[in-house]
């Protein structure tokens, strides 16, 4: 099978509103029940973020839609590109949560940018959804199916983090699990153009490969929105009782017997959509963003495991990495496993890490796009350099990796 190459030939990003410093966060997101958070300082010290952007005004009203953030980033990208929006034959858009449960976000972004009829892909996950969209696009380019793919990653999580969300959860004590992400996440979008050849002048990034692996069957839910109790989604929730591989009949039987024994909550209200009304779901705390901190460190372990696998497969060698692009800082990665990685000579030296987490915030799946956009336009990149990107997603433990090579383009 003959395949072509795929290149990122243009890049753009968009961050809504002014940078918001740590002291200003609660003037945008609001103070829950009028009180300043006691956990805020601790979490901010740990993540190191100094400024971020929100698509909210000080009355917690949205200043943009998620599709508009994507469109703004896409327009920046297209303004720098040799192609224009009429050339786009594939639009791939990733997000943790778009504006509407349906249709897919790509439909909304296509309309927003006013791209003529084209193929679309909407990917949905958490931090890895942007790179899933990028891979879908790169593959179509490599197969020769498409010539001009526009890829967007957009996040508008602040709508989930404003004070009214927490105040509405009546039975919820605002615990660490529900509050943690309030001090982590913010808004922004990035966009890349992917084409089968480098741009005629200037820098392109050849997409050598993108690898993604999910470990969802090994771990419990770690980050979610839509349930009041993450433990109800435990690995093997049913299969524990129904032996290793339950049949559909067995599952039905379990459901029936649980209902008979009065355990209706467990069966009926696992998802926010199971409640009588959406208001009930919100009151129950089922619409809060949650992070299970007890199992969060597994993200480092699966990240290291994946990295070692890539080294063994010969897909990357730590020595060839010029830029290690990650939306977490090197300071996040510590502990015995990282110590072992270091002893085994695989730790990427700190001076090669590139992140703009501290100034642009953690924008979920858009983070890697926004970081690469800054690097792309930094003037630092030189032909032949290797960019190794890693995108950890704690949702239910997914890691994605990407190797890019800087190409100068024809002069």
């Amino acid at each position: 099978m003959s395949t072509q190459q795929a290149f990122i030939t243009s890049s753009g990003s968009f961050l809504p509103g002014p940078p918001i410093c740590n002291e200003e966060i609660e003037s945008v997101l609001g103070m829950v029940n009028g009180k300043s958070s006691r956990l805020k300082q601790k979490i901010l010290r740990a993540n190191g973020i100094k400024t971020r952007h929100y698509a909210l005004n000080q009355n917690q009203q949205s200043t943009y839609q998620c599709s508009e953030l994507a469109a703004q980033a896409a327009l920046h990208c297209l303004n720098n590109a040799f192609a224009d929006s009429a050339d786009v034959d594939l639009l791939a858009v990733g997000s943790t949560q778009g504006d509407l449960p349906l249709p897919g976000l790509a439909s909304m972004v296509q309309a927003e940018i006013d791209i003529p009829a084209c193929e679309i892909v909407s990917t949905h996950g958490v931090c890895s959804s942007g790179v899933m969209a990028l891979k879908a696009a790169a593959n179509q380019i490599k197969l020769g199916e498409k010539q001009t793919a526009l890829v967007c990653a957009s996040e508008l999580s602040s709508r989930l983090l404003k004070k009214s969300r927490y105040e509405a959860a009546k039975h919820e004590t605002l615990d660490l699990e529900a509050e943690f992400l309030r001090w982590m996440l913010s808004d922004g979008a990035g966009a890349f153009l992917v084409e089968p050849q480098p741009r005629p002048r200037g820098i392109s990034l050849r997409i050598d490969w993108i690898e993604q692996l999910s470990y969802a069957s090994d771990f419990d839910l770690c980050m979610s929105c839509g349930t009041a109790d993450q433990s109800q989604w435990s690995t093997g929730h049913y299969s524990q009782a129904a032996a290793a591989t339950p049949s559909i009949d067995k599952l039905n039987e379990l459901q029936m017997s649980a209902r008979r024994s009065g355990a209706t909550t467990m069966i009926r209200e696992r998802s926010w959509q199971d409640y009588e009304t959406y208001a009930d779901a919100e009151r129950a705390g089922a619409l809060l963003l949650r992070q299970n901190l007890r199992i969060l460190d597994n993200i480092v372990k699966v990240g290291v495991e994946g990295f070692l696998r890539l080294i063994k497969q010969g897909k990357i060698s730590p020595a060839e990495i010029d830029y290690f692009v990650c939306h977490y800082s090197s300071h996040t990665f510590r502990g015995k496993i990282v110590d072992l990685l270091n002893r085994s000579g695989c730790m990427v030296p700190e001076e090669k890490w590139f992140t703009n987490l501290y100034t642009k915030g953690n924008t979920g799946c858009a983070s890697i796009f926004i970081a690469l956009d800054e690097l792309y336009h930094s003037g630092q990149l030189k032909e032949g350099q290797t960019l190794f990107c890693t995108i950890p997603e704690s949702g239910r433990f997914t890691t994605a990796y990407m190797k890019l090579t800087v190409v100068g383009g024809k002069q």
């Binding site: 069957s217 199992i295 270091n342 002893r343 085994s344 000579g345």
Partner: protein, 229 residues
């Protein structure tokens, strides 16, 4: 942040071995997550009976551990005197560890005779037989891979499990002495192990990694086959 200086202490080929061992370890940790009793511990549905069962099933392996490790020491020729010394030292440190398990069991209200009479489960049988067989080979350097896994459990998991068990069962640290002891002491053992790996992985890398794989699989099996005797 971890500094880069430790990397310079190992040769490049030992680093490759360590990398492989780390990959085996990480896979093992994920495999442990799928073992029902560990899953219950993670998910918070671990009962006092689970803890007693765990102790009863660990004791025979710990008793066997002292045997294979002393057997391994006797299988090294004088050419490998250094590793033999380390193995003997290790055996000295751990050969009565089963007494800690017994005292934890009794402290939790268990009967001393019951735990002393507990039979090896079928996973322990496989693990003990494999280790004894390897330990009986001349100069069994591959057992460094076994130690990487077994000491790794002490160094990386035991403390975590001990405090989780204390939290879930509301019991005092005096009832999790076996796990806590390993959590506290296996750090120094594993340091010594890195030194040995650096010295010998040149000549035994593949075997070390393979034995680590087998031991990790059989160890998980031992935890899967609780009371299956």
């Amino acid at each position: 942040m971890i500094t880069a200086d430790k990397t310079s202490t190992m040769s490049t080929s030992s680093q490759v071995t360590l990398r492989e061992l780390l990959a085996v370890w990480l896979q093992f940790e994920r495999q442990l997550n799928r073992v029902p009793i560990i899953r219950r511990l993670e998910q918070g549905t671990f009962s006092e009976e689970d803890y007693m069962t765990l102790l009863r099933n660990l004791r025979p392996q710990v008793v066997e551990g002292a045997r294979w490790i002393t057997r391994a020491a006797s299988s090294f020729t004088s050419e490998f005197a250094e590793v033999r010394s380390a193995v003997i030292g290790h055996a000295m440190d751990e050969h009565r560890d089963y007494e800690l398990i017994e005292s934890d069991y009794v402290a939790c209200g268990g009967d001393l005779e019951t735990i002393r009479n507990a039979q090896r489960n079928i996973g322990t049988e496989a693990l003990a037989a494999y280790l004894m067989s390897q330990a009986s080979q001349p100069n069994p350097l591959d057992l460094l891979g076994a130690m990487f896994i077994i000491e790794g459990l002490g160094e990386k998991m035991a403390n975590k499990w001990a405090s989780r068990i204390q939290d879930l069962l509301s019991i005092e640290p005096s009832k999790t002495r076996f796990l806590s002891y390993h959590g506290a002491n296996d750090d120094s053992h594993i340091e010594k192990l890195y030194g040995l790996l650096d010295q010998y992985s040149d000549i035994a890398s593949d075997k070390i990694v393979k034995t680590a794989k087998v031991v990790s699989r059989l160890y998980a099996m031992q935890l899967e086959e609780l009371d299956n005797v």
